[in-house]
Symmetry: C2
Subunit: 372 residues, 2 copies
């Protein structure tokens, strides 16, 4: 089978590492010829994944297409789908998810608990909604990886809001943040991964670690699983869906966001689960049975971000210290250029005990630095 | 770091899948542009790995070189080593292992138990050694994967022997065949993988399954480990060494052959061990600490060979049946052409119980066929 991936970042790279287990001919499209995935596919096509003509031409060469980032030209995918190509996820799901306004309306339409919201068309309209604060302002289109999100605590913060169609979302009194991935095949069969728990740095407010399984009550888990399934299945689309959720202090579960693809919150599945999210997506694309989502061992995942104050050719400090730790798995994404906060790699640690996981994660975080 | 691999088969392919976890720029040389590893490296060089000039030119581009097959030009590697390149394994080890006569003499020199042998220069000399039969005749140079080995039971079989320098080796009354891999880093530190046991088909006499850990007595294990270590360490070379051994009916251990590289007997380590043989070789090449050889779970590995009577474009029957089995990992090598007995892929199964492993392996063997 011929399979194309729109986007050539680290998710594409890890997808291609797994693709080599199967009989699939791989295509990647990305603007940057030196992107993380470029050298691991059969055919690299230099092009803009947001461009209609480029995506349409790219898609015509393959049997099945997927994405590793939402920010692609959906109209071209719709045409390709109409012409018989298999797109995973379906363009309709992608369209809903890409636009945060449509995404929120989707949750409401399907009675999926998600924080209360208003739509604001511009800053002028936002200024009339100060009684809705404190809230989070999310740009409808084009936000990614923390960009396009503003916390608005009080009326004076309005100036930091977006002057374009956006969602204004009530703040939740968050106890925990978790994510659950759901895999759905072309026939509609599904499997569900155990939840991961995001552990934030109390000082820097950056996502630091991701623990699996999440340390939550069974009743909360059941709620979260039911909600994640409802989110994923109502799209009527095959694919992998990562559903990020808040758990509030009364144990209620609220959907924050959904990604219709392999996701940062599933990196640990490479080593810690029988079938990784990357393996799983190939199973879906190539019409194989779904894999086993069970965990082999509890795990913790640490994102490796470019160090503050360093921009330029990437150098990795502390690799030996980390690789000397038992069952620490390093994944460097092969980006030649580092920048503060840029995702340059991740480390997954396997251990039976949560305390050991946290202790080792702290050691990794101290040891490993990406400088220039 | 810039790393080159001589040979572009399945071992190279699996090495490259792991390489993408680290910061390494990869080169592959192989005659066939469509070989399993060609599309997974940064730089593919079409060339003959047995050719002095080709290997020398290839090696000059990289910092560290390794092999995925012994049949390479060692003289070019010697020159590259003399000029400061790091070759893993060292050309001296490769030279000894490549020639079965030198390999046997190496075992004798280091008092490593290996079946008694004679050297025969040609068929005429072989004909004078009939009182040494039953024995196995092994071609000194150029044998690979079952080629270059002849069983000579009685005088009449002499005609099947080799008319070139060869080893005539006494037959051992074999109870079991096992293999142990030893990894040695550049400073001489080593780690050792648990033994695998080869399980042969009683009818076809083909290697069918490979069980890990081998089902052997503790005292036999200690002997086998000590012998494997002696074999590997006396080369005075970093690298991965797969030592194949016979256990006879009185529990004695005899070295059959050694491979100074990642090896078929280590495929299961990808999923079943904390650090796979492929990960381990990168750790050695890139000067990282050695990994953890412990097993996560017992495993069985089944080679997928081209079916008898089928030659041509490869088709894989039964993939869905195998992938529907829990914790069955399929690796297809991406060879477009199948031929009877050709190694086309492998399947690894994880299970806690040996009986379950054998039962599932039997199911895989029945289900999966490579036809044309």
């Amino acid at each position: 089978m011929k399979a194309g991936i729109l986007g050539g970042g680290q998710l594409g790279r890890m997808l291609l590492q797994e693709a080599a287990n199967y009989t699939v001919e791989t295509w990647v499209m990305e603007k940057d010829r030196d992107c993380p995935a470029a050298h691991l596919c059969h055919h690299f096509v230099q092009g803009d994944i947001r461009d209609y003509d480029a995506v349409y031409a790219f898609g015509q060469q393959v049997d099945v297409l997927t994405i590793e980032i939402e920010n692609v030209n959906v109209e071209a995918l719709e045409r390709l789908e109409a012409e018989g190509k298999t797109i995973i996820p379906k363009p309709s799901a992608l369209k809903t998810i890409k636009n945060k306004i449509l995404q929120k309306q989707y949750y409401r339409h399907h009675s999926i608990p998600s924080p209360a919201f208003l739509v604001t068309q511009d800053k002028a309209e936002l200024a009339t909604k100060t009684d809705f604060l404190p809230a989070v302002h999310k740009l409808g289109m084009g936000g990614y990886d923390g960009r396009g999100v503003q916390l608005l605590k009080k009326a004076a913060d309005i100036e930091n809001g977006f002057d374009a169609p956006s969602v204004l979302e009530k703040m939740i009194d968050i106890d925990k943040e978790i994510a659950i991935s759901v895999a759905i095949d072309k026939k509609g069969a599904h499997v569900i991964y155990p939840p991961v728990e995001m552990i934030f740095d109390p000082y820097l407010n950056l996502l630091d670690y991701q623990l699996c399984p999440a340390d939550i009550q069974k009743t909360t888990l059941w709620k979260a699983e039911a909600i994640a399934l409802a989110v994923a299945r109502n799209f009527g689309s095959p694919g992998i869906f990562a559903i990020e959720m808040f758990i509030d202090r009364s144990g209620d579960v609220w959907v924050n966001e959904t990604a219709p693809r392999v996701h940062n919150s599933g990196h640990h599945t490479i080593e810690a689960h029988y079938s990784s999210q990357f393996d799983m997506l190939w199973r879906i694309m190539l019409d194989y049975p779904l894999g086993n989502t069970a965990l082999i061992m509890p795990s913790i995942m640490i994102n490796i971000l470019g160090a503050e104050g360093h921009k330029g050719n990437a150098l990795y400090e502390g690799m030996n210290e980390v690789l000397a730790m038992e069952n620490a798995y390093v994944h460097i994404y092969g980006k030649s250029q580092t920048a503060p906060g840029r995702k340059m790699g991740h480390v997954t640690i396997l251990e039976r005990d949560k305390t050991d996981l946290l202790r080792k994660a702290g050691k990794v975080k101290k040891a490993l630095r990406v400088i220039s």
